[in-house]
Amino acid sequence: MKSLSLYEDKQSFLNGLTPGCKAFYIIAALVIPAMLGNKLISIGFIVLSILLLTQSKVIRRTLPILAVSGFVLITVIIIQGLFRAGNETVVLDLGPVAFYKEGLIFAADIAINVLNIIFAFCVLVLTTKPSDIIESMVSRGFSPRIGYVFVSLFQLIPQMTERMSTITDAQRSRGMETEGSLLIRMKAFIPLISPVIMSSFIDTKERAIALEVRGFNSKEKKSFLNVFHANAASRPIYWILLIATVASVVWKLVMMFA
């Protein structure tokens, strides 16, 4: 079955932590270094995330995600290394242009921050079923209707792309050009995407009534078929993260006013 979800059940330690606990890990990984203003702590979180992901046997799945941001990070390093205002100390002279120490340090800071976000996110999304995240939010009062929208997307998007590839094949077999000059490619875009858009929007009517007749707008308190079996470590870890995060914020406030 095609789903956009990156989740895999490996029966690992991270699989057994509650979604709330892992969500708080992301908050802690971003807030604590920001409060303490120390890049070493960010690096510490990156290492911790990598260790956790390796232990959960999903570290390889971070590669496609790293590739997306990696490309942008390279442009950041080039642009800041070459052009950043305040660049003074040449590190690498390439003749017409030169890389400067100040720009590269600035770029390195950005890279650390970005990598920290990516790995912390991966701790959650690679090891948690989307519906578990949403169900835990809904049971804490999050709108079940918006929750439905989130969860359904993981399957509805692949369904739509599948339908789209059918249309693409049909248009190609009728001799539509999808390669060539920019104008030709622009012209190809409209007949390709219009039928998918139209039918998706028209289908929404039937999907809406099909949901309504299954009690989608029911005012009863929802029950859940599946139960999440959290491991014993979830609760203490949650509290440690919470206390550490609050402590870092308090420390920052004290430093500001002291």
């Binding site: 642009i79 999304v125 929208v149 490619r185 995407i193 929007f201």
Partner: protein, 204 residues
Amino acid sequence: MKNKNNNSPWSLKINTASLVLIPAAVGINYIGKLFAGMLKLPLWLDSIGTCLAAALAGPVVGAISGAINNIIYGVTMDPISTVYAFSQAGIGIVVGLMAYYGALKSLKGTLLTGIFGGAAAVVISTPLNIIFWGGTTGNLWGDLAYAAAVAKHFPLWQASTIDEIIVDIPDKIVVLLLVAALFKGLPKSLMSLYQSNHRIESLD
């Protein structure tokens, strides 16, 4: 001309018909982006769904579509794109409001909607670009402009704004032209479904 049903554009009561527009909108954004990549077009075209949903069901649905769109990107491909949920939501709000006041009925209005929608994205994205990426966008043409501006000693925020304008405004204009055309093509019977406080007339 205003919508004759006089729903407030800000109504937070979202009926089921409007709600299921959101997954359709996000799916279309996704497909637009995929196609633009496949055909190697120099535009993102990844907000067609958001803008169409906003035009049909108003700024609130537009904003939610935009935000959910980026959160889904965030958890499936690119975690950093989550923070740009704010920009997408901004586009949804602007397009939803413009459509509510009938802007998509004329070419001029459509172009203006594209420019305003793009401007909303620029205003919200630029600070985020500066915080997370030092001001660049990862788009080749935009970043070349950024590099040129920085090399000419423009302040960072100006260089970053120029970068984002190049990325967003032309894209949103093309998207809105498409959306206005599609909007006219959708069956009329769909439109009335999104008006949640339409009264039921009596035939007795």
